[in-house]
């Protein structure tokens, strides 16, 4: 009679398999890192001595302060960029709104370190902008000096997190919220301060804490700008120069994880119990008004200035990839295709590896994401919330920490047929990418699934379809938009990920694009080809994002089953 009982073994087995995968490739490596940080390097006993050493070393104290300073300043500068953009687009009938919404997202399709070198050439001491300023006014501005450079580059790349979240929060405020305040006598700045601002606050904090987390964990940008006295770069430098047994790398990792968790906790607190999405039928979003002509000019000026700055890494990168010599001049001396030729001779392996790794990782993510989403939202398996929680927890693990964890954990595990340690086999890079990007894919899949009404499934079961057949014929086709969004988000961000990859690439032939750009950018001669490779990376990610956006739009038009695309990076 088991055939007709309501107990389903399939999802249970699947849940156990996924749980095991997450345990081996997420929990164990991270636990290992934490454990080593608290272990005496000589005796193996548990101790706090490593942390004492850490805070007794002036370099580490300085790195800690610097990382905190850079992360906080980046949040401030990102906010300064994002606030006016979000406000203009949601408050005014403004032709620039579409421009902001599309161009504003572009920074996310390129990791910050790629543009860092180009930014030096544009904003550095002898860069284009300072040459012009010096020419006209006789002074220069230290945009890129020391930590300033890191802050500028990170802010330009990560401000869309605030823009997206804040715009969404503003759009979710029902017009009646404002109207009722006006009806009771409030207007102008008081209305903004007492109603609009508090209602948009959770969205802003969610975006700001993401920026903090991303900047705090980034290793590529500071290293390329030659800033070593920050935490994440120090972790990498300790492990790569002193070795896998040096405890300082682990101590730093624990601090990185702690701050990531802290940032996520803040964002959780901000959003908890404050589902302020108040839009009801009848008009969503703030009251929009038309701009007077001079206001319009002012708005466009601000928007264009910001967008120029935002696109400067891309512009600089393009110039760098086509320029012959570019030094002490506003623009390159002459233009050439040579860098693309040079790049192509050495880099086709990078491109192939990237497509392979990112494609596999995204595939794993979508399969896992769909399965987890289904298990969590459609079954009653005990512990299903934990599966979701652990998978989402990967957000809090910086790439460098995961990389160190993999090195330490899997170095002794020999893969049978290829006969080398798992830690130096290319597959481990794929696994790292998959784990790192799983939260984004999972969220997209959950969004897709939530738009499939349970009633549609019940209708199929009522007509005789088994659970498995229902999933195959109803659920998966209807959530394909969400799955595709998940795939592309995973793919696009995995294609340009550097921090974990940097730790795990053991042979040049296994290296992906981001690593290749990194290698090129190390030498002055490699900048041109490196920039050319960077342009290729931007194109791959950009095209993938655009295509998926179009496909999703089309499927959404065909049936009103939506998907979340905004989950970039």
């Amino acid at each position: 009679m088991d055939r007709f009982s309501k107990i389903q073994w399939g999802p249970g087995a699947l849940a156990i398999f996924i749980g095991l995968f997450l345990f081996v490739f997420l929990i164990v490596p991270v636990a290992k890192v934490v454990f080593v940080a608290f272990q005496d390097p000589n005796t193996g006993a548990l101790t706090l001595v490593n942390f004492v050493d850490f805070f007794n070393t002036s370099l580490f104290r300085e790195s800690f302060i610097n990382s905190l300073y850079v992360a906080l300043m980046s949040v401030a500068l990102s906010s300064a960029i994002a606030l006016p953009l979000a406000y203009f687009t949601t408050r005014f009938n403004f032709g620039g709104a579409v421009l902001i919404q599309t161009l504003g997202i572009i920074p996310l399709i390129m990791p910050p370190f790629v543009g860092a070198v180009a930014m030096l050439l544009l904003f550095g001491e002898n860069g284009s902008v300072n040459l012009i300023i010096n020419d006209w006014f006789g002074f220069t501005i230290p945009f890129m000096e020391g930590l300033n450079g890191v802050i500028l580059v990170e802010s330009i790349h990560y401000f869309p997190f605030i823009l997206i979240n804040l715009s969404a929060a503003l759009l979710n405020i029902d017009r009646a919220m404002e109207e009722s305040a006006q009806n009771l006598g409030a207007s102008g700045t008081r209305l903004f301060r007492r109603i609009v601002f508090p209602l948009a606050m959770p969205g802003y904090i969610a975006g700001a804490s993401l920026v903090f987390l991303k900047v705090f964990d980034d290793i590529g940008t500071p290293l390329l700008l030659n800033i070593n006295n920050m935490l994440a770069p120090q972790a990498y430098l300790r492990i790569s120069s002193i070795g896998i047994s040096d405890p300082m790398g682990y101590v730093i990792s624990v601090i990185l994880v702690a701050f990531s968790l802290f940032a996520l906790w803040v964002s959780f607190l901000a959003l908890k119990g404050k589902d302020y999405a108040t839009v009801q039928k009848g008009g969503g979003g703030l009251m929009k008004r038309d701009l007077r002509p001079w206001e319009k000019i002012g708005c466009y000026a601000v928007v264009i200035l910001i967008l120029l700055m935002v696109l400067s890494p891309h512009i600089g990168l393009a110039l760098l990839s086509f320029g012959t010599v570019w030094s002490f001049s506003v623009l390159p001396d002459a233009y050439t295709w040579a860098h693309y030729g040079n790049m192509w001779r050495t880099a086709d392996g990078y491109i192939y590896n990237t497509l392979l790794y990112a494609g596999l990782a995204a595939l794993i993510d979508v399969v896992l994401g769909t399965a987890i989403a289904y298990i969590v939202w459609r079954t009653k398996i005990i512990g299903r919330k934990w599966l979701d929680f652990i998978a989402m927890g990967a957000v809090a693990i910086p790439g460098v920490v995961l990389g160190i964890g993999y090195l330490r954990t899997f170095v002794e595990f020999n893969v049978p047929i290829v006969d080398k340690p798992l830690a130096s086999w290319w597959v481990i890079i794929v696994v790292a990418l998959a784990i790192r990007r799983l939260p984004y894919a999972l969220r997209a899949c959950v969004a897709g699934l939530q738009q499939v009404s349970v009633m549609l499934e019940e209708a199929a079961e009522n007509l005789g379809a088994t659970k498995y057949r229902t999933v195959r014929r109803i659920v998966v086709p209807l959530m394909s938009g969400g799955m595709l969004a998940g795939f592309v988000t995973s793919f696009a961000t995995a294609a340009v990920e550097l921090s974990a990859t940097l730790m795990l690439v053991s042979a040049q032939s296994d290296a992906p694009l981001a690593y290749g750009i990194w290698e090129f950018m190390q030498s002055a001669a490699g900048r041109g080809p490196g920039a050319a490779l960077g342009i290729i990376a931007v194109l791959i990610v950009g095209i993938a994002t655009y295509v998926s956006y179009r496909i999703i739009q089309r499927t959404e038009r065909q049936r009103s089953v939506g998907a979340v695309v905004a989950e970039q990076v």
């Binding site: 029902d174 009806n183 008081r190 109603i195 606050m201 404050k274 009801q280």
Partner: protein
Amino acid sequence: MTDIRPEAVGVTIEDVSLSFGTTEVLKGITLKIEPGEFFTFLGPSGSGKSTLLRAIAGFGPTPAGRILIGDDDVTHLVPWRRNVGMVFQSYALWPHMTVRKNVAFGLEERKVGAREISSRVDAALDLVGLREFAERRPSQLSGGQQQRVALARTVVVEPRVLLLDEPLSNLDANLRVQMRRDILELQRELKLTTIFVTHDQEEANTTSDRIAVLNDGIIQQVGSPMELYDNPANRFVAYFLGTANLIDGRVEFEATTPVFQADDGTRISLAGRDLPAGAGTAMFRPQDLTICKAGADDAAAGGVVLPGSIRHREFLGSLVRYSVRVGTREILVDDSHHAGGRIFDIGEDVDLHLDVDRVQVLGV
């Protein structure tokens, strides 16, 4: 808080027109709402009733024409200077404030002293019976409670006029009946000029002193609920308030007697009426007919006899509503129901006796 109230004021709407782009939403509305009156804008969705209400509150584009509250022309006044209280369909309670803060908001904007705010907020919450919920957040309240908070938040500022934009549409049926009584009681107690927007004729009939029926941006008729029901000005009003049988045709004269000649040949003599000749629509309610067995010589029923056969039957408790096929049209007839009363079956031939005194002829 009822001791020193300002005198109730009226609202005057003079030739108000309004367009969204090329769509004309209001077409020359003129109305006078008396002080202290409970007045309703009734109409289907898209009729312009909400737009008109919002124009009184100052929301949406500035309309052509004039809007006066009391003697003040407010047509060009910003919403926050009008002192009209509006209760929104979605309640629009601010989720980041407690109930107390929500209710205090308008008083704070009016720079009322802290002690007075506190006592007036308490009084307003007492008025709607939610004093003990003052420290809760709106999300912790039921729909009906949120509605009461929205009301308290509006009346606490002692507005000159109370505007209610479909305030009951988000409540379930039982609560709606309770709530509309409470609103009416509140309005009577505060003697507030109130304008209520709804698409529900029952809500309008049970609460209003007068109703303006709107359709297509035009006022179709203004009057008390009973006037509108008994003497509808046109097909739309007849149809929108209650159930009506409408027969197209024209009024002709046989000597000096007006006769309604229906398009399908039926003739209804309207002796003693003062009617102009020409095209018109005869209107009568389902209760204006008596249903009898076919051929039964029922002298008591009298009137014009319309022979037909039963197509549908709906049992509505106190009455049975028949749909009767008469010639090419269906006529609705109500027959009051008592236990053991005569019930006609589907397909049965019947005679309908129409009381001609109850027939109204509407202009086209």
